[in-house]
Symmetry: C3
Subunit: 404 residues, 3 copies
């Protein structure tokens, strides 16, 4: 698969239908994406609380690259490729804390700004200033540690402007991680995303989610009366119950939302949070003074998603690792001043853990089917506008990139 | 490896000698075979008893494809690719029974004839009739469930005519499976077949088979006197002992047999069946009224082989799964009216289980050697006429296919 | 990667810097090496004591090929590719002893000189003399069993002349193997070699080796005073302590040594051997009559290394098995007349077992880093003259080979 072939393939895809097989399984397509379009995207790599005092560092994988994220002496977050400039050894194997980064092979030592502090027996002819650690693009946006291989800083600015007031209001920058779980999924990242951004499958596949979220009837079947009733419920919630001080204001969760947006909606049914019985599982977060039963969604397609309840937040990570492998990680965030005794981790994880285990199975079955030579693109339903829009955007951006 | 290269390679192969290395290890050759010559072959996928009442379905792999075989409402066997026409999910994960086939992802529902019965929220512009499950070629030939990706129905007709009377006489359509075992073999399917269709290796490698089958001396070494003696034994058996009503008549198992044939021979040595002591292991099958100690072979090279004793049958499956991987499965069939108490499964499995475990090891050693750059084609002996013929036929058919 | 591309890539490498990424990870580069430059190298395959009386054979892997090394009826060592000339089966699965080599598939039987002794039912038209086992290049050099796929016999002659007197003096031809251990390492063979032939990393990484070998300060950091002091120590050792009868004479271990050489140096610190406390772990070997605390190194870059202490020897094997996989094996040799009670195997293995486990981890971290797209060649320090020289030589020889 060369770029010319890929361009022709992109051109013949049909709007409103799923993509042809190569986009979901072909290693060459994935490799072109990985070095191009995917490299330009921003990904959630962690939470600010993982980088404490200066010198604290974490090691994370992004698109096959090992990155070091470190809090420097000025308190800023810096990123470096985890590769020694001497003979290329990995420098850090696991998270840690150190005043300098020392390669375990020949003890080359780097400052927290990446510059080479010392290396024994270097020939005089070698210019040390050219031997700093190669920087990686990372940023702290309201507590979300974001990273990219070649992303546009403009996108970062948009996220900053769109997310930051709401994230601060909800206490995300100062939150702590109460739980984290990994869901390695054997499927192309597009199958993972298409699954995540539609709820057409919620009714048949996610009994827990369906029981908690009152809007599922709306998004999981064509039910005009239910939709109208739900819209009334949302109107009433914004008018009567919703926290009036939220920086998200009346920006309402809807299919017409932009690809980068911060939105609100009620859980519904009188629930205070996303728990089985609707009762809180942790203390209020941020500036909230009472439970309003809302969900605030911070989304920047394709890869940044944070769901914020009144008492906890769910931080999603979608990390492509191969043509048919994607790491899905979830971190549950809580008020950092809450004691463990005040947090019911099991009840907190219940909804999204079960739902994501179900999604992993759905995606892997989808991936298995797409591998067949009998697979052909199928039509998105009217309840899959988001994946249809995402696929459209992917095609346009890939096409533009290959043409340039 | 392009088709032109493969044509040149085919042209320089030497008759009566084994093939060059690429035919046994090269992924590109396997891929060309899989989409071409192999796709045209018919394979044993199961036995009719696995599909009971209408709605019963089984899920089977063929050449990397997952197929659903289902008994429809009219009692016929139908085959479908296990791929939803919506977003491509696998529909069935395991064997089961249902009045319709429901995709577990978004609940698209198909009738047993493959047509789409229901799908929520489909855009009006979508033509539902174009969204039936893609049919796969399957057939029930005298109880053998056969399948192919692009096979010639004419071959199926030949098998039907050649096999059906004999299979029915021996009770195969109404048999049941008493045991099944899998022998995944790390070797190209040609090495598996070449092993199966010659007995030059029986004497050094298969002590059990050699002890049971009296003809091994004939086919495993050049022994003119033994051969003549054996021919006399076979003559006497056909004259004096063989069931005279068999639809196979006097069609005698021999190297001159056609590639698709139904043949008979005695086990020899007074044995009633292929058991260690020669005594029965199950009740008589089909229309037989007494033990005649015969073996009826239903063979359609390259992939269909059924050996029928008086009291049980051995159904072989050879399923190519990769350039150096072949699944070999054996099912042991018995009279469906026999109770478990009447069947000695262990004694029944003894011969072919041991022999196939031995063959798996032989083939895997063969595959390991063929991977060497020191491997070069070697001469078939006069006792390997069948593999020599098979390889010749493979070359001719592949050559003709590439030329067209 | 075609040869033209590889030539261009070789041409742009920078002297004194590590190689670019493809040389360490690219499967095509490895495949070109394996069939070319690597095939020409000589490798240690075992020790002469592994081939006892005539008919004794061992089965060893070299560059993906399975080789049989056998002691023939005249007592010479012969090598054959482990591939039957009939249908290509592996003939020997494990070490053994037999008066002829019999293929386990169809019982084709070969004499110890590789000629075909018997094969049943061969067509008369087949010329048996063309069906001998394909010979492989093997040789016994002073007890070292060496092998190559297409090596230059001239190199073997150089090793014979350079090594043989010293090896015989130290009793290597008649030694026996007291212990052997394997260290499969996930890294390209060049990363393994670069690690083995420099000691820049000894100080930070090998506490045991550093504590035993007094020269480490010299080779692991720039310490002019220490270097001068060490040179004085070595002078004194050669003058006062070293065994004066050694055929290695005053050939001193130094960075200026040739790629194929036999050299001596003291361990230092009054140690008699490479053990934790410096005391012997086994009886004296060969013609030695007292402990002189020396290390004799028999080295023929890139792949032949033997370290000989007074009481034991350490035989290294570096066997490339894939673009990112190398088998490292160590055999510990002792005086064959020593009883097990006289040998302290654990203390004998202590130094090189620990050091090699450490090196495996270092190399695997190096390999992980080199996989990154952020990896770029770095400068060798003044203490890495040997890897720099090796890489230079590799480039020259590869370039010459591709040009021819």
């Amino acid at each position: 698969m060369q770029t010319a072939e890929l361009s022709a393939l992109l051109a013949r895809q049909r709007s409103g239908w799923t993509l042809e097989q190569p986009f979901y399984i072909c290693p060459e397509v994935f490799e072109l994406e990985r070095r191009g379009w995917l490299a330009d995207q921003w990904f959630v790599l962690g939470h600010a609380s993982e980088l404490g005092t200066p010198g604290t560092f974490i090691v994370r994988e992004l698109l096959g690259e090992s990155l070091i994220l470190v809090r420097d002496e000025q308190g800023s977050v810096r990123g470096f490729y985890n590769v020694c400039r001497h003979r290329g050894s990995r420098i850090c194997e696991r998270d840690g804390r150190a005043l300098s980064l020392v390669c375990p092979y020949h003890a080359w030592t780097y400052r927290l700004d990446g510059s080479l502090r010392s290396a024994a027996a270097l020939p005089d002819t070698v210019d040390v200033t050219g031997l700093s650690l190669r920087p990686a693009m990372v940023a702290d946006v309201g507590g979300l540690l974001l990273g990219s291989l070649s992303g546009d800083p403009g996108t970062l600015d948009v996220m900053q402007r769109t997310f930051e007031p709401g994230l601060r209001y909800h206490g995300i920058p100062s939150a702590r991680i109460a739980a984290r779980r990994q869901y390695p999924t054997q499927g192309n990242w597009k199958l993972v995303l298409e699954n995540f951004i539609e709820c057409y499958h919620c009714l048949p596949c996610h009994p827990e989610y369906t029981s908690v979220m009152k809007h599922v009837d709306l998004v999981a079947r064509v039910a005009p009366d239910a939709a109208a009733a739900w819209e009334g419920t949302v109107d009433a919630w914004f008018r009567e119950t919703a926290d009036p001080h939220s920086p998200l204001g009346s920006r309402r969760f809807a299919f017409s939302a932009g690809v980068c947006d911060a939105l609100r909606a009620p859980i519904g049914g009188g629930r205070k949070t996303q728990s089985e019985d609707g009762e809180p599982v942790a203390p209020l977060m941020g500036a909230l003074t009472r439970f309003d039963g809302g969900v605030s969604s911070f989304r920047c397609e394709p890869f940044v998603f944070l769901g914020v309840l009144n008492d906890y937040a769910v931080m999603f990570q979608f990390l492509p690792v191969g043509p048919e492998a994607t790491d899905v990680n979830i971190s549950w965030l809580v008020n950092s001043t809450a004691s463990n005794a005040d947090i019911d981790v099991e009840r907190m994880m219940w909804l999204w853990d079960r739902t994501t285990v179900q999604d992993k199975a759905l995606i892997e079955r989808n991936a298995a089917g797409v591998r067949s030579m009998a697979y052909a693109p199928g039509p998105y339903s009217t309840l899959e506008r988001w994946p249809a829009r995402f696929v459209q955007r992917y095609r346009q951006e890939m096409t533009a990139r290959l043409a340039s």
